[in-house]
Point group: C2
Chain length 219, copies 2
């Protein structure tokens, strides 16, 4: 794979171009930290955007859903899909309302997803989907059986036609606004994990696994 | 406005219908806590999903962008748009890989956005956009001038054809899987604010406003 992502009409960044890049490594760092993707698809009655878990597996984004899902199955028809992963880093308070902003890191990927039907590839995708959320969990859970595997549609979207957008740092007020008297700065935002809550359905006392007690959203 | 949102082919929830609702009050609680929306639109070269700030203003979702934005301006052509706001609440660790899930609250809205051109309505939208992120900030910043107002496209999407989806609580393993030996439970997730970072561009020492020092993502 090339180090640069593909710049096309769809991925070209026209607004705040200084925030954009086509750097594959930067895209992967964002995709690897994220836990949820917003997936857009025209399933025939207009665009729909749905939140989904996902995984990055090599140079693909993996998506999955129930075979019975009307929405997901429309992928199979070769309709292009757009996937966006966004991490929020802060609220940017400027002198002017107009210059307020957010600090964030986002990746948008476009393209045609392909159906993963091979059993071994499907298991690798299931593993990636779980490990994306909780590294260490795959080996510490019951892996999918025949029925579960067959009931699940797995799609792979090549991370090729994609772009990265990042804003960080303090506000950028126009010079004239710096004479104004307001407090300006950044309120940092972070997705954080709390203490794990044991499932009341467990049949006995069980120690919290280390990968759970040390879990962190930041990887 | 009716208490129930509009159930159509696009908003009907086919998977995990037990998680879905059409309750306007539940939708507003989620929309009021959120800070970012993922907006899907077919701008002519396929669906694009983009993260945007937004506001709920009465029974509308407000979106905005630069007049010069190629993407946003395609809204004006009456193309339907889909907006999704998702709040992550936890990772759900079940006995089977298949039953792993996330706790979340999400709202999806569809429809045709209308352009807000009236000056007074535009200012109300700017205020709502800022107050959605940092309540108290509008009165403590320079409000948009003529040039800034004219350079900004503001759209209102009626919250009408919409649905809510919520998952909460412990894992739901199949009865046979409850005999398995794995630890199961929930890792709670929360978007949290850190201590505010003052802008080095401020011309003198300024006290952190109370609405900043007491800022909380949870409203």
């Amino acid at each position: 794979m090339t180090a640069e992502l593909e710049k096309t009409e769809r991925t070209s960044i026209s607004r705040h171009a200084e925030r954009g890049s086509y750097d594959r490594e930067a895209a992967y760092a964002i995709l690897d930290e994220g836990m949820i993707a917003h997936v857009g698809l025209d399933a025939g009655s207009g665009v729909m955007v749905i939140p989904m878990t996902y995984a990055r597996l090599g140079d693909d984004l993996i998506l999955h859903g129930a075979v019975a899902s009307r929405w997901l199955s429309s992928f199979k028809e070769g309709r292009p899909v757009s996937v966006c992963v966004t991490l929020l880093d802060g609220l940017v308070l400027a002198q002017s309302a107009f210059s307020h902003s957010m600090n964030y890191r986002s990746v948008v990927v476009f393209g045609d997803a392909r159906l993963i039907e091979d059993d071994e590839q499907k298991q690798a995708a299931f593993k990636a989907l779980l490990e994306q959320l909780v590294p260490g969990r795959w080996e510490d859970s019951r892996q999918p059986d025949r029925k579960e595997t067959d009931a699940t549609t797995v799609l792979a979207l090549p991370i090729k036609e994609a772009s990265v957008k990042v804003r960080s740092g303090p506000p950028q007020d126009a010079a004239k606004d710096l004479e104004l008297p307001y407090w300006t700065g950044v309120i940092p935002l972070e997705l954080t994990a709390g203490e794990a809550i044991p499932d009341p359905a467990m049949k006995d006392e069980r120690a919290v696994p280390e990968y759970v007690s040390t879990f962190s959203v930041k990887r």
